[in-house]
C-alpha cells in the first residue's frame, strides 16, 4: 500500500482529517513529527492546515526551519511529491518551495466558509483524477490567504501553467481580485493554488480533506487526495521497478 506522510507541527490542527482523507483515498497514512528528520519511507508528503508554531512572526515561517522541513525540501528537490494545504501552503511559500506569499486577507477577517475552485491543470500529480473544469466545493479557514506575487512572476506562472487552482463562481468562471463573494481573501488573479517549476510540489489554501465525505457536505476534495495517492503509488511502483531491475 502506498505510504503517505502527514507532517505534524505544534499547532497543526488538520493532520487527523488529512490522515483520514488519505486513508479513504486508499493510502497508508502516517504522521511525521516535526522534530524528526526521517520521512519514514513515504512516497509523498502532505503539510496539513493549522497554525504551526502559533503562526508567530509570519504564518509558516518558523515551521520552515524545523528538522522535518529540511528533509521535505531534500525530498522535493529529488522529485518527491509534496502537497501543502492552507497553513501547509504558507509553510511551502515561506520555504521557497512554491512561488509567492500569502498575505493577510483583504478584508482583514479570518474566513471560514465554503468556496469554489477550478483546476486549471488536469494533468498534474495533484489533479489527474479531477475530470474537468467543473467547480469543486470545499472550505477555506484562514486569516492569511491572499495570494501575492509581483506582476512579472504572476505572468510567468500563468505562461508556465503553474496556476493550479483558481477561485471561481458557481458556474466555474474565474473569480478575479475584486470579486469578494467568490474570491473572499482577495488573491491576485484569483489564485487558490500553485505548482513549483518541476510540477512535483503544490500548495492550495482551500481544504480538500474537509470535503472528503458526503456527510461533510462535499466530497470534491477526494479528487485531489485520490490524485495524490494514485501519483504516489505510481512513483513507488516506478522505484520498485528500478530496484528490481538492478
Amino acid at each position: 500500500m502506498t505510504r503517505i506522510g502527514v507532517v505534524v507541527f505544534p499547532g497543526s490542527n488538520c493532520d487527523r482529517d488529512t490522515l483520514r482523507g488519505l486513508e479513504l483515498a486508499g493510502a497508508e497514512a502516517v504522521a511525521l513529527w516535526h522534530e524528526v528528520a526521517d520521512l519514514d519511507g513515504v512516497s509523498a508528503v502532505v503539510l496539513p492546515g493549522g497554525f504551526a508554531y502559533g503562526d508567530y512572526l509570519r504564518a509558516g515561517v518558523i515551521a520552515r526551519f524545523s528538522p522535518v522541513m529540511r528533509s521535505v525540501a531534500a525530498f522535493a528537490a529529488d522529485g518527491g511529491l509534496v502537497l501543502g494545504i492552507c497553513n501547509g501552503f504558507q509553510v511551502l511559500a515561506e520555504a521557497g518551495l512554491v512561488p509567492g506569499a500569502l498575505l493577510r486577507n483583504r478584508g482583514l477577517r479570518f474566513l471560514g466558509r465554503d468556496v469554489r475552485i477550478v483546476a486549471e491543470r488536469l494533468d498534474t500529480p495533484f489533479t489527474r483524477e479531477v475530470p474537468d473544469r467543473h467547480p469543486l466545493r470545499m472550505p477555506i479557514a484562514h486569516g492569511e490567504g491572499c495570494y501575492y506575487a509581483d506582476e512579472e512572476s504572476l505572468s510567468a506562472l500563468e505562461a508556465e501553467g503553474r496556476v493550479l487552482f483558481r477561485y471561481a463562481d458557481g458556474d466555474g468562471r474565474p473569480a478575479w481580485t475584486g470579486d469578494a463573494e467568490s474570491n473572499p481573501n482577495g488573491s491576485l488573479r484569483g489564485i487558490a493554488g500553485v505548482l513549483n517549476a518541476d510540477g512535483n510540489v503544490a500548495g492550495l489554501m482551500p481544504h480538500p480533506e474537509r470535503a472528503s465525505e458526503a456527510i461533510l457536505g462535499s466530497d470534491d476534495g477526494m479528487l485531489i487526495l485520490r490524485s495524490l495517492v494514485a501519483s504516489a503509488a505510481e512513483r513507488t511502483a516506478g522505484m520498485a521497478a528500478v530496484v528490481g531491475a538492478s
Binding site: 509567492g100 482583514l108 491572499c146
Partner: protein, 101 residues
C-alpha cells in the same frame, strides 16, 4: 565603524529590526488604522503602514560581526523579502545602554 569603543571591541549589542510591508503591497492593517482616524477626529493623515519591530541582543567579536548576524536573521527569518522591507538599527552596546539607564 563609527560608534567609538564599541565599534572595534566585542561584546553584546542591542539591535532593532524594523520590518514594513514593501511599497505597493496591500496592507489591510494600515488601511484599517487609517479608516479609524476619522472617529478620532484626526484628519490629514495618510499612507499608514503597519509593520513590526523586533529587538534583540547579539553577542559577537565585533559590532560588524553582530550586525552581519542580524542582517542574516532579518533577511532569512524576520522579514520575507518578497513582501517586506527591513531596516537594521543599532541601539548600542548593552554595557553602555545599561550604564545610561
Amino acid at each position: 565603524m563609527s560608534s567609538g569603543a564599541a565599534a572595534t571591541n566585542g561584546g553584546a549589542f542591542r539591535f532593532a529590526v524594523n520590518v514594513t510591508p514593501k511599497p505597493g503591497i496591500l496592507d489591510p492593517q494600515g488601511r484599517a488604522v487609517e479608516a479609524s482616524l476619522g472617529h478620532l477626529d484626526v484628519h490629514g493623515v495618510t499612507d499608514v503602514r503597519v509593520g513590526r519591530r523586533v529587538e534583540l541582543t547579539v553577542t559577537a567579536g565585533s559590532e560588524a560581526e553582530a550586525r552581519a548576524t542580524v542582517d542574516r536573521l532579518a533577511s532569512e527569518l524576520l522579514a520575507n523579502p518578497l513582501i517586506e522591507a527591513y531596516a537594521v538599527e543599532l541601539l548600542g552596546a548593552v554595557a553602555q545602554l545599561e550604564a545610561a539607564r
